[in-house]
Symmetry: none
Subunit: 222 residues, 2 copies
DNA sequence: CCCGACTGTGAACGCTGTGTGAACTGGGCC
DNA sequence: GGCCCAGTTCACACAGCGTTCACAGTCGGG
């Protein structure tokens, strides 16, 4: 079994003790960037002593992934109100100090509902566009697309939900992983770059919905 | 909002107090059969005093529904081991006696992640008019309507409540988002534009109620 | 350390959608 | 029938939006 991802590094000793006694392997990271190349069935973010950093970490773990691993947040009882508005950043929370039995039960519940067990898609396809998520390769009409990292992530996100319109704010949050209301030009420029690389024939796959955002292709169940 | 489903009936007073103080409507049932015809955004099953019956209730709520509402289980700390093997029967659990703030936070989390809000395609339909809110596309008689942003929003607003008359002031407030008593001509012009785009056959879907405002279609229950 | 690639941002520009004033038409009342 | 008011329509100015470019900063590789 892949190790459970813990944050921060070093992780809280109480948490480590629970996992070790339960025989669950774990690995700790200091930042989301450290987690990027890891595969983990679940993540536990100890936000109790660093709420803001913890919330940011939980949100970053959600970024872009088509099938994000479930996230358990550890929070203080006094921070429960701060959960509002962040519900989509985590799957469960545990109030600390927590009884070890509860912490273990919650982790097991998370592991039992691990969506990666349902087999995350390894390929995103739409018409002749193929994104191989394992190799980070893209092609259209059988021709390889030379995409940069951000271009690939944006295209992946859009193409996974063909027909659906996403606002620039949603794209910044879900693809870029941050809330930044002044930076929407970023999205536009990346769309331009994608359109250029898709080529004239396919540039129209990414459509602008004026005053709303962008859409890729048509809905499959139209 | 539909009431939250509680079990058993009568429900635990602590639970009722939390929901009432939070302003969340609820209804209690004694069995899964009682819940069968109800629509509820979430269910809370108080299995702490009757574990076996509670577990059976949670399982029964899961049975058959394509899109089951999320279930929060209330359990004793001593029953945590009993959660094993039943993970797919519930979405979250809370150890009782629970702090009211935790109980409320868990219920709000469950409501915030209501799967029916994420997976149901959002569509406004009336006769042959279809507005797909995810794709921002509109069609009538199977023919696409090329609507601008404000036209789309106005049509969406009107068509969501067929038969109901809205004053220009209400439309400015609710569709345009501002109070501006001198700009009612704006509404009129957008209505004209919508009528033109709906075409001669369907232009009459938007009716003028003289000295009052505008109405779309007929009430469904009329 | 240097260089190249990537990324985000500010600015300029062209296009589209929107709101408003004015003219016209239709409905209701006397 | 005439008058007045409400609604329809037209035309246009311009605000806002999206596209594009260029450049500065950062990061990673050699």
């Amino acid at each position: 079994m892949d190790p459970i991802l813990l944050w921060p590094d070093p992780p809280p000793p109480d948490l480590v003790r629970v996992l070790d006694l339960a025989g669950l392997p774990w690995t700790a990271v200091a930042s989301e960037a450290d987690a990027r190349d890891l595969t983990y069935p679940a993540a536990v973010v100890a936000a109790d002593d660093q709420p803001e950093a913890g919330f940011a970490m939980a949100r970053a773990l959600r970024r872009g992934d088509l099938m994000p691993a479930p996230v358990l947040l550890l929070v203080r009882g006094t921070a429960l109100a701060d959960l509002d508005g962040r519900h989509e950043h985590f799957d469960d929370f545990c109030v600390t100090p927590a009884h070890p039995a509860e912490l273990e039960a919650r982790i097991r519940h998370l592991l039992a509902s691990d969506p990666s067990l349902e087999h995350a898609p390894e390929v995103v396809q739409y018409d002749t566009l193929v994104l191989n998520l394992e190799t980070y390769q893209a092609s259209i009409d059988g021709q390889p697309l030379d995409l940069t990292y951000m271009e690939y992530e944006l295209l992946k996100f859009l193409a996974a939900s063909p027909g659906r319109v996403f606002t620039r704010e949603i794209l910044l949050s879900r693809v870029w992983g941050y809330e930044y209301y002044g930076g929407a030009r970023t999205v536009d420029v990346h769309v331009r770059r994608l359109r250029a690389k898709l080529g004239e024939v396919h540039a129209g796959l990414i459509q602008t919905v004026r005053s709303v955002g962008y859409r890729f292709g048509e809905a499959r169940w139209g």
